[in-house]
Structures are given as structure tokens and as C-alpha cells.
Symmetry: C2
């Protein structure tokens, strides 16, 4: 990036985005960015100059003679590849772009794919600011940009507390502002099952908190479209065989019955790998999921599987003896995960799992990704990649674990490739995720708690490995927090006393 | 309190509040509680019955024959004392009330003063709920209620970050719902001076963050009226001689110049007690404050006064020698605080100070209250009351110091009278305050961070000393959180996974 001190005026009145091919994703994005760039300014002008018929900020600067060479009247967007209107972003999406604001006002955005163009549009919108004279300007700039990691995710959990579709959409807006590209949707868990399955409507009916707290098929299609338009993938997580108590009520026999003193104690444990109804159900269920969610990946969970309930259950143990692995509960887990992987594989989806499956020495398919979330993350990333698995890092970025003060510093300095390994191991690191688990989070606080605390993670996952200077990051983050606030999102103070030029005001 | 299982219908159509004297505060409160009690229901009806001209929920129950003895058609409010329309709540306000919902549907609220009637109205509104049939009901109930402590405060800080008038009003709503009765407004501090003084407009002009981030005289009058209508006092804090850097820019000479190596190093310290312009300024300033804020009390601060700058300044030291207390900086502090107390006394206001003034062995006037905020609070409360000062407890309730998990438990179990002392000492404990300092708080998160975390403090300060059972508190708090959410406030999850029957939905 080179950034000159020379300012160019943005011609608010005439400004257009130019594109040399028809492309709905970008046309819709242009409209979005017109609103973002000019919306606030137009409102301000109409407030201060309400007696005139002026509709654009530019007119009050028009008394100053304009020269052709210090005004930006267009951003010329050139996408090399063909734009497909039904395009969906993927692991292979090319998010690189070149943005040039030339001294003569000629401004260009070049990208190989629409996904790069979307990232460049966001950058362009962030480069525009209001100068001392109150008019919109942009500096002469040249940027060549691309992400360091291909998987840059935010995990939200909609089971421990429900989150509204509207809150999720605002979060997608903020992800786009921060160049995150994966929404890892931990949609169901022990506590509730808000996913409205069309194959198994009873799952929601019996296990959602209320029938208001659910995601209909329409909601999900709407969210996927909303995310796609922002170049964001949605990877759903259906965590099993643990964290699945809410799956049980509609399906007697799906969950393991836990025994004590020789009889069922009334409680349930993980999904029962020994039941002959388990796999037909999973086959039907994941067939539906692969229809509903477009992404190549499904997260299968696999974390925190307690063996105690399996150990207590005589039927499970009899099954294990029959299968030739008596008392080896890791083998039982492996049996389950292998069957599950095969099911997901048969619907042409890749799997991501939490690290315990790996930790328990369960052998999983080679193309399974492992997400690291606990323990010494350097050791764990080294171990996972040493075994040849692709890895995602989440451990240092559990943003639900709040503490007083400037916690962004520790989020900023963690790095997915900060472990002892070979280049081949480093190449297996696909990125990371900032996680906001839902125990203490719902619509009341999800956005303010997540932002701007996820922003340091965004920079870590996008910017070059050497971008670690705290002081310059602090300034950028402060400005970026206020940018989110200015666009209407409740990004909270993160760095001690201060203010934003345009504050968030409770309405 | 006795609470029967017998339910009475609330006659939504005919329900009225009856009062036997003219009283604007209560008439306005009746309107407010009509909206709170019936608003949501009416909205629901008008949505489901939009084709009719019906305006009340009751009509859809009216086909069921009503019996006189299971319907509540009125709450008869009887206030013994005369209602004064210009009344302002005070330390002496009587907040006691008796509320009876008799088996025959006759409902009465008796109070000695309007302030008790307001508390009783809130209780009445909370007793009404929607039964399984979807209609509003109340149980046969008898309540005799009064607060344990007379001072039950919330501190908000509007200097480290600005808070909008609207956010402050919503907070007053929530305080009323939780029976807090003092808004301790830490309005200015080092970082900014948002109070718009009419005597000294330059203070805001030079030291507010921006001229949007200020409280005009109109804003303040508006807030005082809003609080008064809810029986809430507003005690402003103008902290000095420390925490007052923002006071300096308009008044060269007010702040102490800090020296190093024999000359001024460019920085400032606390207010300069030796300057002959300091006290005339303070006299004028607090004369204004006593005109603007109606409350009997002004909080004078006095915390965290560093002696280093005073020590470094030759003029200050020359003054101290002249005054006969060379090198005794506690005496200098005492000199300042005594002068300040005299000024505040001359405008007929009582003072509250933070504990350090006391800790520094500064002798202050006997009627000064001491607020305890740090160290071992049991020891400090014992020491303050042993010297005969009235005391407020804040230390265990610094809600800005966030941590992961169920932190409400520790807030709930702290108690202002939990120290070794005599009855005379316990009698000097006037109450306490939950404090949300503003370093990491602004409009984006102030309400969700404060509520329901301040609610356990509210119960501690209102309810009898023996009300300490965690399990029943947990159930009440869970219900109360959802009550705040139902009324439209973003009270956050506080106790792990769960949901509210009517969730807060981001719009």
C-alpha cells in the first residue's frame, strides 16, 4: 500500500461505480456502498441546509472551482472472471484485489473474482472520509491486497441463547466490514434446537426454547443469500455425538440412556452409536442439511464427549464386545465419527471437527479439518498438522470469556502459525475463528460484545504475518470502532476513555 | 407478604387507578403504568384484531361472564400526606406502602407519601401476569413493604465516555423497576467536561469531547424532572481536587503546575489550593450547581489525589510554609476540602466524599458522608462509622469490573452492614451504590452491561437483611431479567443458558 497525502474530492453528485459486465452481486453491492459512503453525509447536509433544495453535500463545495484532476467521479471496477449470479463463495474464492486512486482522479478496482471486488469495495468505502472542510475526500492511494488465510471465521452459538435473524444479519454486515469470510453457525446444542428441519419438524417443536425462537427454512435461505452477497460462507455446525441432548426428545433411542446401580437413572448422554436407528436418522438428516446449506463444509462437532454414560450402559457395552473393541470407548467414538463422516461424504460435503476427536486418537478421514480450541494451542497446532490434518485455530479467540480492560491486545498477538513446525505443517493452517459462545449472550449484547473485539482477529487473519505493531494497530482499531459506530452498529469502547466523532446514540 | 394461589382477572377494559386527591406525579405515573401493564397486550390485540375498532384486550374475554368477585377493576390509591406537585424526593422520603389485592377483587395501595405510592405501583405492575388462557391476572396478595436502606444508588460516569440523555432516561426507567432511588451522576472527570455551565460556558467549549457530547441546562432539567416523576434523586458529582484536569483549560491557574528539575514540565495536577483565584471560582461554580440540581446532596469526590504534583510545585510549598503546615500535604488537602465544604455549606447543600479524604486523616465536617469504594470494605466501613461519619458502600459493586460467568452471586451476598461494629455504627450506614465507571462503556453497551447485574444490589439494599437465599434469588432474578426485556430494555443474560418468553429482538 502506498498512501499519498494528496487529497482528491469525491464528486458526491455525479459519483458512479462502473462495471464492464452484468453482475448482480456487484450491482447490489454498489447500491449498498453508495448508501454507506454518501448516506450519512446527505443526511447531515439536509439537516444543516434544510432551507434549500440541495440534495448532495457536493453542492456546498461547488463554489470552489473544480479541476478535472482532483475529483473522483467514478470507481471503475474490472473483474477478470465471469460473474455468475448464482455464485457462492468457497475455500477457493480469490479475494485479492488492486485498488488505485490516481492523482488525476481516475480510480480503478481490479479483481480476479467478484469476491475480491467485494473486499476492494469495502476498502474503498473505508478510504473515503470527511475532511476539515466537511466534504468527502480520498487520498491518492495504491493498494495490492489479499488475505493471509483463506478461512477467517466468526462462531456464534444460537442454542444456549437464541439470536434473531436481524442480529445475525447485522453481524454479517460487521463481518464484511472486517473482511471475515466464514460464519461458523453453531446452530444447535444441548440446550435448544432452533433449526426448523423439514424432514423432522418435531426436533424444533419439541426442543426449541419457544416456537418464536427458531430459524425457518426461509430465514436460513435469507441469511445464506445475505451472506453470499457479502462474500461470506455459512458453515453450519451440528455437533454430535455429545452436545446433542436437544436432539433426543423426538427420537426415543437416539441418545444413550445413562445407568446407575444397574438401571436407567432417567438421564441421557451422547448419541448412541450402538443403536440401529441412529445411522438411518443421521443419513436423512444430513441429506437435508446438504440441501439447505450450500457450503462445501459441515462442522460435525465432536467436542466434549463424555464416555461415562456409554460406560454405564449395558447395551452399548454388549455392542462393543460384539464389534471386537470391548472397553475401548475411543474406538466407539471412532466407529461413530467414521460412520458420520461417511454419511457426510456421501452427500459430498467436507467435515470439520473439534480437536478432542483428534486428541482421543480417533482416526478420521484425511480430508477432515481439525479445529483447535483448548489447551496449549501451539502444541496442539503442531500435533494436528504433524499428523497431516488441516487446522483452524480458535483457542486464543474465545471472546465470550470476558475480562476487564484492554483484552484486544492478547487477541491481536495470537497467531495460528505460532508453533514449532515445518513449512509443510504451516501450509496446513487454514486460518482461524473468533468464537462468541452464547451462555451470556443474546440479542441484548451480542453485537456490542463481539465488536470491535473480533477486529484484531480479523487483522491477524488477513494481514501479513509481520503486522504486529501494537501502537499502529491501536490507532487503526480506534478509527475502525468509530467507523462501525458511524455506520450504526453498537461497537463498544475497547481501549479506555475516549469518544467517536459521531457517537452511537441509544434511540 | 402473603401471596395466595387464587387468581383474579384484571378487567383490562374498565381498569382504572383511583386517587382521592389531585396529584400530578401520581396521575402521570398512572398513565405510565397503564402503558406498562396493558401496552403490550393492547398491541397484540390490535395486531390480531386489526379489522375491528377494538382498543382493548379485555373485549376478547368479555364473552365470558364476569363475576364481581374475581375481577379487579381498579386500584384504589390512598396517600396520607398531601401531594405537592413540585415535590422532589429526599433522604427523608417515605417509600413504604401497603398493597392489598383482596379475594373480592378490591385492590388498595396505601402510602404515607407519593414516593411510597410510586414504589407500590411498580410492585403492582410486576404482580400482574398473563395466565395460560392469555389474559391478565393477579393473585390475591397482601404486601407491607419498605426499604432497608434509604440511599440506594446507581453511579454512572459520563466523562470517560459520553452517555446520551436517552440512555440516561432508559436507565432511570430501569432504576425505578428495581427500586433504586439515587442516580449518582459522576458527570465530569479528567477526560471531559460535558456539563454545560451557564456561568462558565468555556468549560464545555474547551473540555467536552465534542459540542454534541454535552448536557445542556435543558437536558439536565429534563432529566431531573424525569427522575423526580419516578421518585429518583439525582446527586451530581463534581470531583475535585483530583480527577479535574478537564476543569483546567478555561482557567489558567486553577490547576497545579507540575515541576520537574526546577521548572514546569508542561503537565498539570490537582486543583491548586494555594491559588487565590481557586475559591472565588469554586464559590461561583457551586452556587450555579446548587441552582441547577435540586438535591440536598452534592458529591465532592476527593478520591485519588496525588500529592506528587503539589510536592513538586514551589509556589504550593511556599504557601504551605506561610500557612504553618510545611510538607504536610494531608493538611493541604484538608485545607482545600474544608474551604470547599464551607462553600457547599453556604449554598445549603450536604457533602459526600470518597473514602480517601477520610483515609488521609483529613478532618471533614461531621455531617459529611463517606463513600467506601476500595480496600477491605468491612474494615473501612467499621473505621468510617467508628469516627461517627455516615457511610455508603460501593466497593463490592463496581460493575465495570467484568468477569466471565455468574458474577451476580458475589454482588448479591455483599452487605453494607457486614462488619464488626456497634448498633450505633450500623445505624450510620445509609446504603450503597452500584457503580458502572465509563472506561469501557457508552451508549453501545451501558444498559446491557448494567442490567440485570445491578438488580442483586437493588434487592440487597431494599430487602430485609435475612434475604440471602441464592436459589430463590436466582429464580426471581431470572424472571425479573425477562420482565425488563419484555418492557423493551436490553437486560443481558446473567446466569448461563436460557431464554425469555418474550425475547429482546434487535430491530
Amino acid at each position: 500500500m502506498t498512501l499519498s497525502e494528496d487529497q482528491l474530492l469525491i464528486d458526491t453528485d455525479r459519483f458512479v461505480f462502473n462495471l464492464d459486465q452484468r453482475c448482480d452481486i456487484l450491482t447490489i453491492a454498489f447500491q449498498r456502498y453508495m448508501d454507506i459512503i454518501f448516506g450519512a453525509v446527505k443526511n447531515r447536509v439536509s439537516q444543516t441546509k434544510s432551507d434549500s433544495n440541495r440534495t448532495s453535500v457536493f453542492e456546498f463545495a461547488i463554489t470552489r472551482p473544480l479541476r478535472d484532476d482532483d475529483v473522483v467521479t467514478a470507481l471503475h471496477v474490472d473483474v477478470k472472471g465471469q460473474c455468475m449470479d448464482d455464485a457462492y463463495p468457497s475455500l477457493k474464492s480469490d479475494e485479492s484485489y488492486n485498488l488505485k486512486i490516481n492523482p488525476n482522479g481516475f480510480a480503478t478496482l481490479d479483481a480476479n473474482e467478484v469476491w475480491g471486488a467485494l473486499r476492494g469495495l469495502e476498502t474503498f468505502s473505508q478510504l473515503i472520509y470527511t475532511n476539515n472542510g466537511g466534504v468527502l475526500v480520498i487520498n491518492v492511494t495504491s493498494i495490492t491486497d489479499k488475505p493471509r488465510f483463506q478461512h477467517r471465521g466468526i462462531l456464534l452459538d444460537t442454542s444456549t441463547h437464541f439470536l434473531s435473524v436481524n442480529a445475525l444479519k447485522k453481524n454479517l454486515d460487521l463481518m464484511a466490514m472486517n473482511k471475515f469470510n466464514v460464519f461458523h453457525w453453531h446452530i444447535v446444542d444441548d440446550q435448544s434446537f432452533p433449526y426448523e428441519s423439514y424432514t423432522f419438524p418435531a426436533m424444533c417443536e419439541k426442543s426449541a426454547y419457544t416456537m418464536e425462537d427458531i430459524y425457518s427454512q426461509k430465514d436460513i435461505a435469507d441469511l445464506i443469500e445475505y451472506a453470499t452477497l457479502r462474500g461470506i460462507r455459512i458453515i453450519p455446525e451440528f455437533d454430535s455425538p455429545g452436545h446433542s441432548l436437544s436432539w433426543g426428545p423426538p427420537f426415543p433411542g437416539l441418545l444413550t440412556k445413562c445407568y446407575s446401580a444397574g438401571k436407567w437413572d432417567g438421564s441421557y448422554g451422547p448419541i448412541d452409536p450402538s443403536s440401529n436407528t441412529t445411522y438411518p436418522f443421521l443419513t436423512q438428516f444430513f441429506a437435508e442439511i446438504s440441501q439447505v446449506f450450500e457450503d462445501q463444509f459441515i462442522h460435525l462437532g465432536g467436542d466434549e464427549v463424555s464416555f461415562d454414560c456409554w460406560k454405564s450402559n449395558p447395551d452399548v457395552n454388549a455392542f462393543m464386545t460384539r464389534m471386537g473393541f470391548p472397553n475401548d470407548y475411543s474406538k466407539l467414538e471412532e466407529y461413530y465419527m467414521t460412520k458420520l463422516h461417511t454419511i457426510v461424504d456421501s452427500v459430498k460435503r467436507n467435515s470439520i471437527i473439534w480437536q478432542e476427536v483428534f486428541d482421543n486418537n480417533v482416526t478420521v478421514a484425511a480430508n477432515t479439518w481439525v479445529e483447535v480450541w483448548k489447551g496449549d494451542y501451539q502444541k496442539e497446532m503442531a500435533a494436528v498438522t504433524a499428523r497431516g490434518y488441516k487446522a483452524l485455530l480458535a483457542s486464543p479467540w474465545y471472546l465470550d470469556l470476558i475480562s476487564y480492560g484492554r483484552d484486544w491486545l492478547k487477541y491481536y498477538l495470537a497467531d495460528p502459525q505460532d508453533f514449532n513446525g515445518t513449512q509443510a505443517q504451516y501450509d496446513l493452517v487454514m486460518g482461524g475463528e473468533a468464537c462468541l459462545w452464547g451462555e451470556y449472550v443474546d440479542d441484548t449484547n451480542v453485537l456490542s460484545r463481539l465488536w470491535p473485539r473480533a477486529s484484531p482477529v480479523a487483522e491477524r487473519l488477513w494481514s501479513p504475518i509481520g503486522t504486529v505493531d501494537i501502537q499502529s494497530a491501536e490507532m487503526r482499531l480506534d478509527e475502525h470502532r468509530c467507523r462501525m459506530v458511524k455506520r450504526g452498529y453498537p461497537a463498544q469502547p475497547f481501549n479506555g476513555p475516549g469518544f467517536c466523532p459521531e457517537e452511537f446514540v441509544d434511540k
